[in-house]
Subunit: 225 residues, 2 copies
Amino acid sequence: MTEKRSRRAPRRSEAERNDRTLLQAAREVLAEDGAHATVAAIAARAGVGIGSLYRRYRTKEDLFQRLTELSLDHWIEAAERGLAEDDPWRGLTGFITERVEYGQGTLGPIAGTIEVTDAMAAKSARSDELTEALIARAHEAGVLRPDVTSADIFLLLEQLGRSPAVEQLRRQGRTDLLEAAAEAHRRLVGIAVDGLRAGRHSALPGSPPSPRLLTERWTPPPASG
Amino acid sequence: MTEKRSRRAPRRSEAERNDRTLLQAAREVLAEDGAHATVAAIAARAGVGIGSLYRRYRTKEDLFQRLTELSLDHWIEAAERGLAEDDPWRGLTGFITERVEYGQGTLGPIAGTIEVTDAMAAKSARSDELTEALIARAHEAGVLRPDVTSADIFLLLEQLGRSPAVEQLRRQGRTDLLEAAAEAHRRLVGIAVDGLRAGRHSALPGSPPSPRLLTERWTPPPASG
DNA sequence: CCCAAACGGAGCGATCTGCTCCGATAGGAG
DNA sequence: CTCCTATCGGAGCAGATCGCTCCGTTTGGG
């Protein structure tokens, strides 16, 4: 890799460090500000000028696409870890906890606003495949309540991925209460996960959600009219 | 009330009708657009000019304050209905379902952005009081898992009050999938509610959230510095 | 029929956002 | 140490948006 490309390379290492810093900053800002995330805020959080951001990524959309790939990679790893776990129930719940923690919330606000690249589609397919396997294994082991489908769980991940309380406190700058709110959110995830366990409970209303609800999430809005 | 105030009252009935229509429209737009809700959108949804909106409400904040009182009234009624129910469990879950459905999501985006009026504070106190009673009764009856506190449930209401899937689809104008998303959301509420039921389940992580997390939610951000 | 009260909405000023452009900066070859 | 250039930072532009005002138009009760 260390070719003679660097015949003229004054500040190359600094540039590469910025690359990582920017993606991490984008993840944080997106988790906090949701759809309102601005490039200025991302650059500021990374301690980098806007100009540097735009040398790395041609556009805001480009940055978000890379970020999405990063999240998808993380989810794939989380699902693989879940499948590596011997106990099907712990494998599934550990995956749910980890994925919620990492932040479906990061991608939620982006969904539908950026074009889906080939790399994104491929990784998404892989992630879904592993997650389905994790769910199917729990179903077969009889530890997951039989009336929930994988579509239910995908939507549950999205529902739990954001924390209204954390987001609002962050917007208000109440950093003092932030950790308490995050801990409270973890308890809510625990409650919901317990609701997934097989056993005595009331029947879920309606019929299982159509998979279209998930697949069409990422397609841009249809030409209205 | 029908005094001689109407010595000159050309279009009074239309004005009063607009009053209700505006509040309903505000509720809908707020539920859909969250913090992005604009006065223009509210007026348009009500089929009313912006001018008419501003004759009824001096400011956007004023409108939101009235709307908040309306929601609080609804919550109080829902809690009263829950307490009127004989079965403590059905009373609590019915209340949760109703309140989530009506839309904590309506108030969530407003919290902290408007000044709390005396009327709001009084109604909020009354609502909290009734909700606490509903929860206490369920605890005493042994149907609610003992390790959840009322603060947990308040936060759960907020967490479930919004539906990321519904919101995103609405933003994209995918009205065709909206009803399916709403039904799917109801199933998630069912799952979470089952996680509240007393019985065998894993311990919740951390310690119960401090009530400060709820009370300080509505106070404006402190003077930073 | 008439006129004041209620209506609708164009548009103002302020704010914000993605992005460009360019002078300042600093690391490494000579 | 010097100088060249890849990289950096951020002022600022053009466009979009938002809350709200202002005013010409409409309408229904007396």
